[in-house]
Symmetry: C2
Subunit: 185 residues, 2 copies
Amino acid sequence: MFDAQSAFPQARMTALTAIFTRRSVRAFSSEPLTDQQVECLLAAGMAAPSAGNAQPWEFILLRDKQLLEKIPAINPYAAFAPQAPLGILICGNTTREKYAGFWIEDTSAATQNILLAAHALGLGACWTGIYPMQERVQGFRQLVGAPEYVLPMAFVSVGYPRKAVQTSVDRYKSDRVHHNVWGQQ
Amino acid sequence: MFDAQSAFPQARMTALTAIFTRRSVRAFSSEPLTDQQVECLLAAGMAAPSAGNAQPWEFILLRDKQLLEKIPAINPYAAFAPQAPLGILICGNTTREKYAGFWIEDTSAATQNILLAAHALGLGACWTGIYPMQERVQGFRQLVGAPEYVLPMAFVSVGYPRKAVQTSVDRYKSDRVHHNVWGQQ
């Protein structure tokens, strides 16, 4: 078992701070990540809940620069991908599902864990969306040679932030909260 | 702005510990939650990333026991819902989307934040799936009187755990990790 806290005794950021100060990071230094950092991110993803505990996910680590340089053509919103030392392609594997169709939610929970773990390790990360945009799904599937039953859901760039990360913003919106009945605020 | 760490100075659980020790909790004491705890959970959800930062989510707080007692008939896997002091129905609002179809991923990231925040506050929570099962979507929509453009994604029960929470389990599976190319391990 990967013991994250023992591996990173200095990573003392609280859970609440991580949740509230995590921001998308799109500019990275060239400093590579250690294998232990990468393992921590993957283990964090796999610690997510999933429907029926099916864990219907696959993680494709992209570190090959030639592959990373092809990503902006697949998703222009991931133009920064080649500058990051690591990309993680998070996919659903529909053959691993216990309850059909929940793989999107399961892989999204895993992705959020990865973003928070990266932040807790002093790294920066950015989630770029793939599914349900079919051209992006196919582009990433071709890029890594995945079979049809593997559905790329998101691509996350990870690295050391090149500049100071902005602090938290207030996203709280009281009109999104309802009491027992829709619209009762 | 809701300042979670100032509101809960004692909640010092690290992010890594929260990620790796969070477990589904399905048995709750009757002790109610404070308004501040509930606000923290909602703010955590709203701190999640979303496609185009559209934040296409709605949170319906269920504390009415008569409503909570109707939930097991909608989803038998949420049989424990009436015993929890709070349920949060997390929905996508398709009229708030910037990029169509990403609301599932956005609301899932928000839900994972809520689970982690609950754990960090010493509470327990359990994610029960709704979307894409149409009978559950309709059942929850009717329960709270939400319009067609609001899609219930998940229902989360929250409360104080009635018994000690199991510690972390090892979900790391090295065969889910691929290097640059599908199947390259």
